[in-house]
């Protein structure tokens, strides 16, 4: 059988690309545990015992405590707002018929292709006029709007595929649209919703451009920006920079490892299903 050779080849390819995918990650991890003020400029291996103190140092020196606080607050707000608004809108788009519904829905889908770069200039001047730059609102509102494009699209797919008999049964029981949504469809849709939540969480957590433009005040800064500026400051301290990178990536990676199915599904299959 030729399958043996094919099997080997497949594993070789998979193994090779896994190695490539992991190398930078492992490199950063190992550098993060290396000695500080080493004169090496590349990845390093820990000398002797790993220096866990690097994380504490990076945390202190890079103010990552504050940044993480900002990131958590912004992420939670964006995720919550997106979820509620997207569920409501998608429910209507999926199960109700009203004039203009199709056009409106496509308006939302359009947002999937609009890059943040195309919006950030007027957003900055508008929000500054409203005195909202340097506040969390400047991060929350635009990111909620962007996430809604995906959220509405994704949740509509779920509501479309939900069982008509269940909805019918609810109506016969006398439930209105509101009750049907919150009592029946939302609890049933927990998998779909949690997928949306993790995806939106990741996007919000990793957002860079908006945070760079909207926030110049240290106390409202989010972690990706913190890391970018930390890179400028600690260029000469590779270990601390690596430790900070780990701190920034860790929350999303942790959620990813716990819920990898949801992540991958959300990013990949949404469009396939349509």
């Amino acid at each position: 059988m030729s399958t043996r050779g094919e099997r080997l080849l497949t594993y070789l390819i998979l193994g090779f690309f896994s190695l490539v995918a992991l190398t930078p990650v492992i490199g950063v991890l190992s550098t993060a545990l290396g000695p500080q003020s080493s004169l090496s400029t590349g990845f390093t291996l820990p000398e002797g015992s790993p220096e866990w103190g690097n994380f504490a140092d990076a945390w202190d020196r890079g103010h990552f405590g504050t940044y993480l606080g900002s990131s958590v607050l912004v992420s939670v707000a964006v995720v919550t707002a997106t979820t509620v608004l997207a569920v409501l809108a998608a429910y209507a788009f999926a199960l109700m018929r009203f004039p203009g519904a199709t056009v409106l829905f496509y308006l939302f889908v359009l947002g999937l292709t609009l890059p943040q770069e195309a919006l950030v200039i007027p957003l900055y001047f508008d929000l500054r006029e409203l005195e909202l730059t340097d506040t969390y609102w400047a991060l929350i509102l635009p990111q909620t709007a962007q996430s809604l494009a995906f959220g509405v699209f994704w949740m509509r797919t779920y509501f479309r595929n939900s069982s008509p008999t269940v909805i019918e049964a609810a109506r016969i029981d006398g439930a209105g649209t509101w009750t049907t949504l919150w009592r029946i469809l939302v609890p049933m849709g927990r998998p779909a919703i949690s997928t949306m939540v993790v995806i939106v969480f990741m996007w919000t957590w990793n957002e860079f451009l908006l945070a760079l433009v909207m926030v110049s005040d240290e106390s409202h800064r989010t972690v990706p920006l913190g890391l970018a500026f930390f890179q400028g400051q600690q260029n000469s301290d590779t270990a601390l920079l690596a430790a900070a990178s780990v701190l920034v990536a860790l929350p999303v990676v942790a959620v990813y490892l716990a819920l990898q199915r949801r992540f991958i599904e959300g990013m990949l299959t949404g469009a396939v299903k349509e």
Partner: protein
């Protein structure tokens, strides 16, 4: 909207507007409206500080005539090879080799291959800046295997900086494509392969006649996702090269920021932004048309 006609689209209810309204308000105010303003700004000469003057199509004409503006779009197209075409090709290669077997440990590979997708671009940039440094991991590896002739200051080489940044994109995108196609290829019915084999198809023809058609939807998704990601690569450029050396790695996404917020050419920046949005939109539509066309 084909699905809408197939299925009963629900009952007509004006209450639908109420459900849509909150989302629409936020979406309209912070996405549609600013985009409209971007279009408006792109028709002006404005430095962001003093009074603006009407520019008409000047800013757009500059996109074609000014080499400093033409270059970023050209770079973006080159980068798409790395961000999009290459990952899809690599993903297909993997799909082709494993189309006949069941892989054990798939979950593990999936998690690992997909990992680059969830890392913040800033983190990716920091890691790769170190790898691509003159004495970084890549050059060290090349030296170690006797390819020292190939080693170079990747991010600082006028010719190689762009491919080097592209390589980072390939690293990010390949896992996504592989995971997508891995799942897709396992869904292709075994019988099709058996039928092909009975017809005496070799591995190559099998790929063209069974695997590739079976992955059509996945390829479309992969192309769409990677194209969009490849054109909005501001973070990565900001962290690694700031568009340098010279203008070798300037891309539209970076140019928007640079012009609007650093050199006070807001109108020109807005024109770049609008052109970028159009480019993404056109390519996305083209991809879906391409796939649908073949389906029909």
């Amino acid at each position: 909207m084909r699905a809408a006609h197939r299925r009963a689209p629900g009952e007509p209810r004006a209450v639908g507007y109420l459900y849509v309204l909150p989302a629409l308000v936020v979406y309209g105010a912070f996405l549609l409206y600013p985009f409209g303003q971007s279009v408006w700004l792109s028709l002006l000469h404005w430095d962001g500080l003093t009074a603006a003057t009407w520019a008409g199509s000047d800013n757009y004409r500059d996109l074609f005539t000014d080499p400093a503006l033409r270059a970023p779009f050209w770079h973006a197209l080159v980068l798409l090879l790395f961000y999009s075409a290459l990952p899809v090709a690599l993903g297909l290669l993997l799909a082709a080799t494993m189309s006949r077997i069941r892989v054990r440990g798939l979950t593990f590979f999936r998690v690992v291959l997909f990992l680059p997708q969830v890392l913040a671009m800033v983190v990716v940039g920091v890691a790769w800046r170190s790898i691509l440094a003159p004495d970084g991991l890549l050059n060290d590896t090349l030296d170690a295997v006797g390819l020292d002739a190939l080693s170079r200051p990747w991010l600082g080489d006028s010719t190689w900086a762009l491919p080097a940044v592209g390589g980072i994109g390939t690293w990010v995108g390949t896992g996504l494509c592989m995971v997508l196609f891995l799942a897709g290829v396992q869904r292709i019915p075994r019988e099709r392969y058996e039928a092909a084999r009975i017809d005496g198809a070799g591995a190559f023809r099998e790929f063209w006649s069974v695997t590739l058609p079976g992955l059509r939807a996945e390829v479309a998704v992969a192309l769409t996702l990677t194209i969009v990601a490849g054109l909005r690569n501001f973070d990565l450029i900001y962290i690694t090269t700031s568009g340098g050396p010279g203008n070798a790695t300037s891309v539209p996404a970076y140019e928007v920021y640079h012009r609007a917020f650093e050199t006070n050419q807001v109108g020109s920046a807005a024109a770049v932004a609008v052109a970028l949005a159009l480019m993404i939109f056109t390519l996305t539509v083209a991809v879906s048309k391409l796939v649908e066309g073949r389906r029909g």
